[in-house]
């Protein structure tokens, strides 16, 4: 089994963002996107892997088949040299033209977004560089060898497309798996951490706000109480002042009255004087009854 390297915590740390409700919305969107992307990529990877396994199996078979085909081909060439009674290699090499008879065409095949080339044998029958080869002897064997080798090369071309597909798929699967793992183990945890961070920060702000409001309320209450008290005090003061004023007026009136009455007293004489003494004694008696 592969040993996974532990992913550094630093990679999963929340991003440096300003904790606002808007950022929270953006992050939630990002998380959603990452999850969708993850599932899509995972499915892509699975499809590719399925194809990949299929191809590796076919490569294995094709390689073995190639071994047999090439053996047959070599045998037919041996027949040629036996029939012609010598090596035709030199002659063959010298009669090569500037355009190959056997070419390949690349066709594209799309496997979940990956273009795999498919080579196809493209034989131009009008080109024959070996008209003169084996003219003297063994012409038939040469023609046979040509056919056998053409078949062999076709097998090789098939094998080459499989092999190219193998190399490309191998690469793409690696990249896709790397992406899947990156999203699964880095991007999603990091976004979740960021969301948690923003949430905690917003909660903190909420609590702060609540406390602030509470404080404000308290202050307001204190202020109103103070204002009420002052108002009451003011009222009292005003009352007192009014009373004072009234008293002043009364005393003035009394004085006036006194002045008036004194003027009258002079007329009335002693009889009145005794009466006032009596009343003061009465007041004193009632005061003694009062219990404090």
């Amino acid at each position: 089994m592969k040993i996974m390297k532990p992913i550094s915590r630093a990679l999963r740390r929340p991003e440096q963002v300003f904790p606002t409700r808007m950022t929270l919305g953006v992050m939630k969107g990002k998380l959603k996107g990452a999850q969708t992307g993850h599932s899509l990529l995972k499915r892509k990877s699975e499809a590719l892997t399925k194809r990949f396994r299929d191809i590796t199996k076919r490569i294995d078979d094709a390689k073995r088949k190639m071994g047999r085909v090439m053996q047959t081909a070599a045998f037919s060439l041996a027949e040629v040299s036996y029939a012609t009674g010598g090596n035709i290699g030199f002659q063959v090499q010298e009669s090569i033209s500037n355009n190959a008879r056997f070419k390949v065409k690349a066709r594209q095949e799309n496997v979940s977004g990956v273009y795999l080339p498919q080579f196809e044998a493209d034989i131009n029958e009008s080109i024959n560089d070996f008209r003169m080869t084996g003219l003297g002897r063994g012409g038939q064997q040469v023609q046979r060898a040509r056919e056998v080798y053409s078949k062999a090369v076709e097998t090789l071309v098939d094998l080459a497309s499989l092999q190219t597909a193998f190399v490309i798929l191998d690469d793409v699967i690696k990249v896709t798996n790397r992406r899947v793992n990156a999203i699964e183990h880095v991007i999603i945890p990091r976004t979740e951490n960021t969301i948690a961070y923003i949430n905690s920060e917003l909660d903190e702000l909420d609590r702060e706000e609540f406390y602030r409001l509470k404080k404000v309320q308290e202050k307001k209450q204190i202020a109103t109480a103070a204002a009420d008290a002052e108002m009451a005090a003011k009222k009292l003061r005003e009352e007192a002042e009014r009373l004072n004023e009234l008293e002043k007026h009364e005393t003035e009136d009394v004085e006036k009255l006194v002045v008036k009455s004194e003027e009258d007293k002079e007329d009335k004489g002693e009889a009145d004087q005794e009466k006032t003494v009596d009343t003061t004694e009465l007041v004193a008696e009632t005061e003694g009854d009062v219990i404090f």
Binding site: T56, I59, A78, K103, R146, L159, S161, F166, I168
Partner: protein, 122 residues
């Protein structure tokens, strides 16, 4: 990505002993032009051929932009095994083929070994 690169690659190249080359040429893969650097798309190598020469030719064929498939005899690939194994680009596709004197051994093939390594069954 590979589509543009693959379009112009139409011919095959071959490195091998004389019999293999003769056979391939009979099949018609040979192309001889006057264009510098692309004179011949085949190379006869004997057991006396130095590994440097093999390497230079291998390099030449793998860097040419018109070759789709490079055929190389397995016993020659063994000489420059490190380079063959470390060539991982999709184009040209490198195929190790058996020669008359050297039967095919799947254990040595670079691609088959990669297959084995990936699936861990041998």
């Amino acid at each position: 990505m590979a589509s543009e690169a693959a379009k112009n690659r139409t011919i095959l190249a071959c490195m091998g002993d004389e019999d293999t080359i003769t056979g391939m040429l009979l099949a018609g893969i040979g192309q001889v032009t006057n264009e510098p650097g692309k004179e011949r798309n085949f190379q006869i190598c004997t057991d006396d051929t130095k590994s440097e020469e093999l390497l230079a030719k291998f390099e030449e064929f793998t860097t040419r932009d018109d070759i789709a498939i490079l055929l190389i005899n397995q016993h020659l690939a063994d000489v420059i095994r490190l380079e063959v194994d470390s060539f991982t680009a999709p184009f040209p596709a490198i195929l190790e083929i058996p020669s008359k004197d050297h039967p095919y051994d799947p254990e040595k093939d670079s691609v088959l070994r990669r297959v084995r390594r990936l699936f861990g069954d041998s």
